[in-house]
């Protein structure tokens, strides 16, 4: 079977249309990036995220209303996987200061309920834990067990026999789970995953991700500069910028538009962006390789003809490889599960846009450059 056999399509002649298409996509994408912005996941923003799996189906709206009233600020609540899954996210990493007293109150109620005669005092507090010193060292063990069973994470200060201190930890995730237990005692849940990322880590990651993507572009520029004429390297990298920006724009435009698709930038999505860079350059290189070959064979033919011929010769390969890649990416998108969805979505769009750009952006760039400097492109 064959498709596009001996095509002779004037790709470059239609480049003006492509400029309009790319331009529109870029402008809309950039406008959306500017005004709607882009949503970063907790990998980059820092914060707390938990995914819970309940025994019975759960009403997201109710959970959202309830959790919103906890005083933890802005809490995002979404479904995770099916209708028994819940994804809860807070931008906070630790319990806010004004909430801390009520957390302490709950701990202390538990202490006096279980051990009415016990006296205690707070010896140290940090943003996520409080250290109690209690009057009877022998009760440290039983008390930690009681607190742990009630949802708080309590540990002995140390293992010494006469230790009278215990540390009670309270994180956002603990507090949310503790309250959900109380809110829905007859719908038990188990924790599918729990992430807690400090603001510093997120900031560093953002920096690293930007560096990684830029570095990838520079490395491509250098390698292709070696292997091809520099203008080809520029064309290829221009196409990459085009791809990355448009895909980012699409992320921004479609965020919160398609239900069930969490389009936010996570570490996995950055990995997908880098892969997209690799994939798109792959396509472009194949076309450029053919142009190089054609220029060698048909030295006197105009550059435009050579480029057109190269695109036409490679178009079956371009389409087939894009198709097989799209197939697997689509499989990932539909069967790969919640964790990989953003990754698969990025690649799906990236492959389409990367294929388009290797034909309609990278090659026209070379042509425009050549006609501007009125020089013959040679190798």
């Amino acid at each position: 079977m064959r498709i596009f056999e001996n095509t002779n399509f004037d790709f470059l002649g239609k480049r003006k249309i492509a400029y309009i298409v790319s331009g529109v996509l870029l402008v809309f994408g950039l406008l959306s990036l500017l005004f709607k912005g882009i949503e970063f996941g907790i990998d980059f923003k820092g914060g707390t995220e938990i995914a819970l799996e309940f025994e019975k189906p759960i009403e997201v709206g109710d959970a959202r209303d309830y959790l919103g009233g906890l005083g933890l600020g802005n809490i995002e609540v979404k479904t995770f996987g099916g209708e028994t899954g819940l994804l809860i996210r807070s931008e906070l990493q630790e319990i806010p200061a004004d909430l801390f007293p009520s957390v302490l109150e709950r701990v202390e109620t538990l202490i006096s309920k279980n051990f009415p005669d016990l006296t205690y005092q707070i010896t140290d507090t940090t943003s996520s834990s409080v250290t109690y010193s209690i009057s009877d060292p022998l009760l440290v063990g039983p008390l930690t067990d009681k607190l742990t069973n009630s949802g708080f994470q309590a540990i002995r200060f140390n293992q010494e026999e006469n230790n009278s201190k215990l540390i009670v930890r309270v994180g956002i995730a603990d507090w949310i789970q503790e309250n959900l237990l109380e809110y829905m005692p007859d719908n038990k849940f188990k924790v599918l995953k729990e992430d807690n990322v400090g603001p510093k880590v997120g900031g560093e990651l953002k920096r690293d991700a930007t560096i990684a993507v830029l570095l990838a572009l520079v490395v491509m520029l250098i390698y292709l500069g070696f292997r091809f004429k520099f203008v080809f390297a520029l064309g290829a990298v221009a196409a990459l910028f085009h791809d990355v920006l448009i895909t980012l724009g699409i992320f921004s435009i479609l965020y919160n538009v398609i239900p069930g698709l969490n389009l936010e930038i996570s570490v996995n999505v950055v990995a997908a962006f880098l892969t997209l860079v690799g994939y798109s350059i792959n396509d472009t290189v194949i076309v450029f390789d053919r142009i190089r070959e054609n220029i060698k064979i048909h030295k006197t033919a105009p550059l435009e003809d050579n480029i057109n011929k190269a695109i036409n010769k490679t178009i079956p390969r371009t389409i087939i490889t894009s198709l097989t890649t799209l197939i697997v990416v689509a499989v990932l998108l539909f069967f790969g599960g919640e964790v990989l969805r953003g990754f698969a979505f990025t690649l799906f769009f990236g492959v389409v846009i990367g294929t388009y750009s290797s034909i309609f952006v990278a090659s026209p760039f070379v042509l425009e450059y050549a006609s501007k400097v009125k020089k013959n492109i040679q190798f």
Binding site: M1, E160, K190, V267, D289, R317, I327
Partner: protein
């Protein structure tokens, strides 16, 4: 045919090697099924035997049993060690990034800190959160701005500020080392399989705990200060006596119980006697004693440890061990035999003579006279008094230095030590001395660490991810394979063969290099399936073109391949570069993706350029028709 021989051998070798490397993974999955059913039965029998057993105890006993099964079957163990490792996102577990809290450390180190100091420290801490500058430097700058010399709070009066800053930064890095040692020690004792503890940069520690999903447990493992104790080692006579009675009792109770026929019958006479010995003396068979040594310490192979612990946990054995003593292992292996670590087993007084809070400072050094490594240890006044009494009463006995339950060193007390300043001698090398310094300081100066990043994946999500990943892999493979056959007919089948080999090689390499497979890693393999056909497509399209110019099949194949090389290499190398960058940038799961992507590129190139080529060459040599659809 001769011209093909080398390549055929190469391909067959690669396939055989991949299968060989993947066999343990297969064997392990089979073993796991067997073990799980055994454990299931064991759990049921436990529950029927004592219905009010708490969940925690049940889990603990079942885990002990599992360790015992692995200890008994070395081939189960090797399969487990050599299988393809699964990342935390697939098997569930915890990933933690911890950072030493320098502010807390400085507060502890400061000599009589006043209000002014604490204020400045607080300001410096806020600033360090925003800037990428070390807290020590910021604090130093702040103190200088306020015309306070650093020696007011740190170091000695003779030191200048630069010296003190260096010292403090060293203390910071020491604190990380200390924290790592404590964490490693606890993780080892807790029995987490395949943990990973790494230092990152100057102040960070990355801990990976596969299979741990109970967060409280993990945090208990990592937080809280370490307990340093000094305990007297029991005299040899008494130790031997206790060990003898354990041995006898154990032989008795093992004989009476039925599940002793675990080991298969062997034929060699030597083995028979060994087995007989093991039956008569089950304790001494795994806890070996050196009759020449003045000490009654037993030596236990690492693989026998779980078994020994299970023996000691038996109720009838617990009964005959006196209440005032306990067994403790050495922290580091005493020797290595046949590639396996051998640990020392001590019998100690249960009651600690002294705990680590009394230690003020410890310093590893080289003794100027003997050039042997030593550790100097200083105690506070209260500790010094006690220490003088203890050392006076136990001359020529050994005093074990125990951190969180394991023995780091057991030097012999030579004479009474007054004044609280002692020297520990008889240390193997400087590295060991440094370790002892860390351990001694752990009691004095707990390393304050904060958890700054924490990711937990529950086992059920991991299981879902595995099945979704594998399903996607199979579905993706089948659709692409069918498409290729549909489009290129016979040549498509050959490309599919190459595709199959590609996946096989990727998995083989992952197993061979002990790499970790993560969910993004599986995604990388799936993506490779889509992209790996590219090289073949390029070649096939080129061959079609060459055939269209009227070349013979043989010539078309030759020029089809040779004209495709530059395009294939350039395009794959650029993708490979992104893989390298991604590997550098990413952590954990993303690195797994980058790894499979890079391995995938290499494997698919090999498969397309060597495997499919040889099939074509063979077909052409035999005069078969090459059908490109």
């Amino acid at each position: 045919m001769k011209e093909f021989r080398f390549r055929i051998i190469l391909i067959l070798g690669a396939v055989a090697l991949s299968l060989y490397l993947l066999y343990p993974t297969y064997a392990d999955s089979q073993n796991t099924i067997t073990i799980q059913s055994q454990l299931e039965r064991f759990r049921d029998s436990l529950q029927t035997a004592n219905p009010n057993l708490s969940d925690d105890d049940l889990v603990r006993l079942v885990n002990l049993k599992e360790d015992e099964i692995y200890a008994d079957k070395p081939d189960f163990r090797t399969a487990k060690e050599k299988r393809v490792k699964l990342g935390l996102d697939l098997q569930g577990g915890m990933y933690l990034v911890m950072e030493v809290n320098t502010a807390k450390l400085l507060e502890k180190l400061a000599k009589d800190p006043d209000q002014r100091f604490l204020e400045l420290l607080g300001e410096a801490e806020q600033q360090a959160k925003i800037e990428e500058v070390n807290l020590v430097s910021i604090l130093a700058e702040k103190l200088q701005q306020n015309n306070i010399r650093l020696s007011r709070y740190f170091g000695s009066i003779r030191q200048d500020d630069a010296d003190i800053i260096d010292d403090l930064q060293e203390q910071e890095s020491d604190a990380v080392t200390r924290a790592i040692e404590i964490i490693r020690n606890r993780v080892d004792q807790y029995g987490v399989s395949e943990p990973s503890i790494q230092k990152q940069g100057a102040r960070r520690i990355i801990v990976e705990l596969p299979g741990i999903s109970k967060e409280e447990d993990a945090k208990r493992l990592l937080q809280g200060s370490a307990l340093l104790e000094f305990k007297i080692v029991k005299e040899s006579e008494l130790t031997i006596q206790i060990m003898n009675s354990i041995d006898t009792k154990l032989a008795e109770s093992l004989k009476s119980s039925t599940d002793t026929t675990l080991s298969d019958d062997t034929t060699s006479a030597e083995d028979m006697t060994q087995e007989e010995f093991a039956r008569e003396h089950p304790f001494y068979a795994i806890a070996m004693i050196n009759p020449q040594s003045p000490f009654a310490d037993a030596f236990v192979r690492e693989s026998d440890r779980p078994k020994l612990e299970a023996y000691l946990a038996r109720p009838e054995i617990k009964n005959i061990i006196p209440d005032n003593v306990e067994f403790a292992f050495s922290a580091k292996p005493a020797s290595v035999e046949g590639g396996e670590n051998i640990f020392r087993l001590f019998l100690l007084n249960k009651k600690a003579e002294l705990t680590g809070g009394v230690i003020v400072d410890a310093q590893s050094n080289i003794d100027p006279q003997t050039t042997a490594p030593i550790v100097n240890m200083q105690m506070n006044a209260e500790g010094a008094r006690e220490w003088a009494r203890i050392t006076g009463a136990n001359i020529q006995k050994r005093c074990a230095i125990v951190l969180d339950g394991v023995v780091y060193s057991a030097p012999t007390i030579q004479n009474k030590i007054p004044g609280g300043s002692s020297v520990i001698e008889g240390i193997g090398d400087l590295e060991e001395a440094k370790l002892l310094e860390i351990v001694l300081k752990a009691g004095a100066l707990p390393a304050p660490v904060d958890i700054i990043e924490e990711r937990t994946v529950g086992p059920s999500l991991g299981q879902d991810s595995i099945s979704q990943g594998l399903n996607s892999l199979i579905i993706g493979f089948v659709i692409v394979a069918i498409f290729m056959i549909f489009y290129y007919v016979k040549a498509g089948t050959i490309a599919d063969l190459a595709l199959f080999f590609t996946v096989l090689f990727i998995m083989g390499i992952l197993a061979g290099f002990n790499a970790t497979l993560t969910l993004p890693g599986i995604a990388g393999i799936i993506l490779t399936i889509g992209m790996a056909v590219d090289a073949n497509v390029i070649i096939y399209e080129r061959i079609r073109e060459e055939l269209a110019t009227g070349k013979t099949v043989r010539a078309a194949i030759d020029s089809g391949y040779s004209n495709s090389y530059s395009a294939i290499f350039d395009s794959n190398i650029t993708t490979f570069f992104t893989g390298v960058i991604l590997y550098q940038f990413g952590s954990g799961p993303v690195q797994g993706f980058a790894l499979t992507l890079m391995i995938g590129i290499a494997c698919s190139l090999f498969a397309a350029l060597v495997v499919t080529r040889i099939v074509f060459d063979l077909m052409a040599a035999k005069g078969m028709k090459v059908n490109l659809g």
